[in-house]
């Protein structure tokens, strides 16, 4: 195609000032130098654009349509041109489409680096300029402009000095204000501290330098409490999030305008799944209503009473009521439980607010905590087995309470119940409580409080209702045997925790912790034996020290390379690897699991690791990716967050062909998985 623009071009050369001009009916372009060239100093050139009324050209990011003006230089050896130092743009609307650019008279400045060794008397500059000028219709144009700049020392403020000054006045000021851009499936929120000189009373506009991240419509803009906020839909053509998003913020209209350029840290809530060719958001599960969430928390708490880690404590407490109920103790016990849960949730929310990537189940991601809990269960078991009794007080078990001793003991029993219950909540309720954590703090805390209340409820009911308490079996010698029996669930809990520890730290470390457990047992045995005296206490302390040493040694060991992951052939989770697979259109099943998550293990045993499912995955060419969250792992925590989860299990199927990922339920059956796999579309590889 012939550019009619060029045919019409009228070329003028100005003898007075180094300048050359090309004119079309829509746009006149003049190449000008601000001064003579001085070797060793930058030479400021400008491309002056004079638009006919209603016509505009484009900024570096042109918006919904259009093209940025492009400059291509031919320069003497050693002379280097900078990029255009773009003045801030204005926003133009055309039938709901938005463009960023310039109208009226606008100079685009470019600096040339002239080496100190430059010795010629003139500096010849050749510029090829390509532009697109639009009103409603668009006309592309291009031209070649030559300029011969005299070399000298004169600082000349020629006839274009005002244009250079106006362009500089439109340069955005680089601001160090903290800024962030949160990219969600459908919207992007840019937040920043108010840059110096920003007026919170005045409206502002925002222009991203990178295209295809934000939609180009005006955002929902606000500036309050020292923070400016810009919420705008995500670009329809969004593919990859930049590490940083550069945005220009403007206030006012030129020539009275002010502008800043901010560097926003990008938090991509959608990567990697949804940045892959498809821009489809994962379908979130419908959020639970608050009322339902509370009801489930209450029921879940009540069910916790039956867990092997909690049941022994509760059963003994219940039996202790036979002498007569003490409502006060029930209330204090309840208080202890609820406060402990709220404190735990508050701690977690606090840590998350400071940016720690934690989810529910975090209490089992620290090996030392797992080992301590294992010791605690073991010690409680030993106590029930009769190896020792640490004054009935500290466990709150037995006679002391029925004899009406202290509210403090009741409160403490509540705390203990919450502590022993906490590892049990992670495996079975991790996902549900994780969801609670994503809610506002009051909602999250009330869900945790209700859970604690549910845990305390059976005992509270017994203390409040003498008739209920009267239905408990009569006391007798059988109680001792029952107490001994109840030690076994606690041993099992300890074994389970030791296994988790082994998964985290390896067999050697687990062996050391077991040795420590033996030392602990010996210490407790000495402590509890009739021959107690100074010697036995010293021995007990020694044994405890040995246990502690074993523990510290164990922790010092690096974890085994990768925790054992069943027989199925899986690939370890790697966010970048997953993204590239999804982008290639591969079908992928992601399984986020943890050794301490019993639901996860059950799902694997029952559904994922079955021959039928494994065969279907091979047949459909589905890559099986497993992420292990047994220990803290930020990458996995971030991945979970994309799906609004803060805990495992999470199963995500990418059905291939760049289609949207599908989240599978938290309780799997082979049929659920097979049905999901049947939707996969992928060429067999």
């Amino acid at each position: 195609m012939k550019h009619s623009a060029i045919g019409l071009a009228l070329v003028l050369a100005s003898a007075v000032q180094a300048a050359e001009r090309v004119e079309t009916p829509e746009l006149a372009v003049t190449l000008v130098a601000e001064s003579a060239a001085v070797p060793g100093q930058p030479l400021n050139l400008g491309v002056l654009l004079e638009h006919a009324p209603d016509w505009h050209t484009y900024w570096i990011n042109p918006g919904d349509s259009g093209l940025p003006t492009k400059l291509t230089w031919t320069l003497p050896d050693g002379v280097v041109a900078s990029e255009i130092a773009w003045p801030h743009p204005e926003r133009f609307e055309l039938s709901g489409l938005f463009n960023f650019g310039f109208h009226h008279r606008q100079l685009l400045p470019v600096a040339l680096e002239v080496p100190a060794t430059y010795s010629a008397t003139r500096l010849p500059v050749e510029l090829k300029i390509d532009w697109l000028v639009c009103k409603e219709e668009c006309i592309p144009g291009s031209a070649s402009l030559d300029l011969s700049v005299p070399v000298g020392t004169l600082a000349d403020s020629g006839p274009y000095a005002a244009d250079f000054a106006a362009a500089r006045a439109r340069w955005p000021v680089a601001s160090a204000a903290n800024a962030s851009a949160h990219i969600a499936a459908d919207s992007v929120t840019v937040e920043a501290e108010l840059p110096a000189g920003f007026s919170a009373d005045q409206t502002f506009d925002l222009f991203p330098i990178q295209a295809e991240v934000l939609a180009n419509v005006p955002g929902d803009a606000s500036a309050s409490n020292g923070v400016l906020r810009w919420v705008v839909p995500r670009s329809d053509y969004f593919r990859d999030a930049p590490d940083r998003l550069s945005v220009v913020v403007t206030q006012g209209k030129p020539p009275q305008s002010r502008a800043w350029i901010l560097q926003a840290d990008v938090v991509n809530l959608t990567a990697p799944a949804t940045t892959a060719a498809s821009s489809v958001a994962p379908t979130p599960e419908p959020p639970l209503g608050f009322g339902w969430a509370l009801l489930f928390a209450l029921l879940g708490g009540a069910v916790l009473n039956l867990m092997p880690c909690v049941f022994p404590v509760l059963a003994l407490k219940a039996l202790s009521l036979q002498g007569g109920a003490h409502p006060r103790h029930g209330v204090f016990y309840t208080l202890g439980v609820v406060l402990s849960f709220v404190a735990l949730a508050g701690l977690l929310l606090g840590l998350r607010a400071t940016g720690e990537a934690l989810g529910w189940g975090f209490q089992l991601q620290e090996p030392w905590l797992v080992a301590l809990l294992a010791y605690l269960f073991f010690a409680m078991g030993l106590s029930l087995s009769g190896v020792f009794s640490v004054g009935e007080r500290w466990m709150g078990i037995g006679q002391s309470l029925t004899e009406g001793e202290g509210d403090r003991a009741a409160l403490f029993t509540g705390v203990l119940a919450a502590i022993v219950a906490s590892p049990c909540t992670a495996p079975l309720m991790g996902a549900a409580l994780g969801f609670a954590l994503t809610q506002s703090a009051p909602v999250a805390l009330s869900i945790f409080a209700t859970l604690g209340f549910g845990l305390a409820l059976p005992y509270l009911a017994l203390t409040l209702s003498p008739r209920l308490a009267a239905r408990l079996p009569r006391p007798g010698p059988w109680m001792d045997r029952f107490k001994h029996f109840l030690a076994f669930p606690l041993y099992l809990s300890a074994v389970w925790l030791l296994w988790v520890f082994g998964e985290q730290q390896g067999v050697l470390a687990m062996g050391l912790v077991l040795a420590g457990a033996v030392a602990l047992a010996m210490a407790l045995w000495l402590f509890g034996s009739a021959a107690s005296g100074r010697v036995s206490i010293a021995m007990a302390l020694l044994a405890l020290g040995a246990g502690g040493y074993a523990l510290s040694q164990a922790i010092a060991h690096e974890p085994a390379a990768s925790p054992a992951s069943a027989a199925s052939s899986s690939v370890a989770f790697d966010a970048a690897d997953l993204q590239s697979r999804v982008e290639q259109g591969d079908a992928v099943l992601v399984n986020m699991t943890a050794a301490w998550c019993i639901t996860c293990l059950a799902n694997e045993r029952v559904a994922l690791a079955t021959d039928a499912v494994q065969a279907a995955m091979r047949e459909q060419g589905v890559t099986y990716i497993k992420g292990d969250w047994t220990r803290r792992d930020e990458a996995i925590t971030r991945y979970l967050a994309q799906f609004q989860r803060t805990g495992v299990p999470l199963y995500v199927l990418y059905p291939g062909a760049n289609r949207a990922p599908k989240v599978l339920p938290q309780l799997l059956t082979p049929d659920i998985v097979l049905d999901a796999l049947a939707t996969v579309e992928t060429p067999r590889r």
Binding site: L67, Y237, S278, S279, V280, A353, G585, G656
Partner: protein, 198 residues
């Protein structure tokens, strides 16, 4: 972190029908009259791959691809493979490039269009339903009616014909990948050109 999660949840909650056509989702249905007065519905083409090409024969970017015969060559290749290729003009009456049926037929004859039909969308409803922003702006819909491509005709945004041989032709690529049963490697790109004259 907490805040980010909340924001994203709010954003997800707000997302709704207002979104334009999205790759991987069913393409918005439509019924439009062509240059010969015949009505076409997207549903009529179920089982076939459909290409939508937003056009405006006076737009220099459209002119680039027609004068270089790039667009016609792609139309010939596609329709030869039993793909339906529809021109869509969403220009409002009176604006640049807007045509009536006779006008469209004249443009098709003059430029040598090899498309299946030239559809008229003078009120811009279909253009807006798809989120068509530029001319050209290309969409590919697979045989199941799912949107498989949304974006530019090729990878080099310019009005210069000389760039065509250097560019990746995204629609051609998408059609050949769909034909081979492969996933579309570039399923979205930023369209370039003149704005649609709604």
């Amino acid at each position: 972190m907490m805040k980010a999660v909340l924001i994203s949840m709010i954003a997800l909650g707000l997302s709704g029908a207002a979104m334009a056509a999205t790759v991987g989702q069913p393409a918005p249905g439509f019924t439009l009259t062509d240059s010969n007065g015949k009505a076409h519905s997207l549903a009529d083409f179920k089982g076939k791959t459909v290409v939508l090409e937003w056009t405006n024969h006076e737009c220099p970017f459209v002119v680039k691809h027609y004068d270089a015969r790039n667009m016609q060559a792609q139309q010939v290749a596609a329709t030869g493979d039993d793909v339906i290729w529809l021109n869509v003009n969403s220009g409002a009456p009176g604006k640049q490039g807007s045509v009536d049926g006779a006008g469209a037929n004249a443009v098709m004859a003059e430029k040598g269009h090899k498309s299946t039909a030239y559809l008229l969308d003078p009120d811009g409803k279909v253009g807006k339903a798809y989120g068509a922003k530029t001319t050209p702006h290309m969409y590919v819909i697979d045989a199941d009616g799912m949107l498989a491509y949304n974006g530019a005709i090729d990878s080099i945004p310019s009005a210069d014909q000389a760039d065509i041989p250097k560019a990746t032709q995204y629609v051609t690529q998408a059609l050949s990948e769909l034909g081979a049963g492969k996933p579309v490697s570039v399923a979205t790109s930023k369209p370039y050109g003149c704005s649609v004259k709604y």
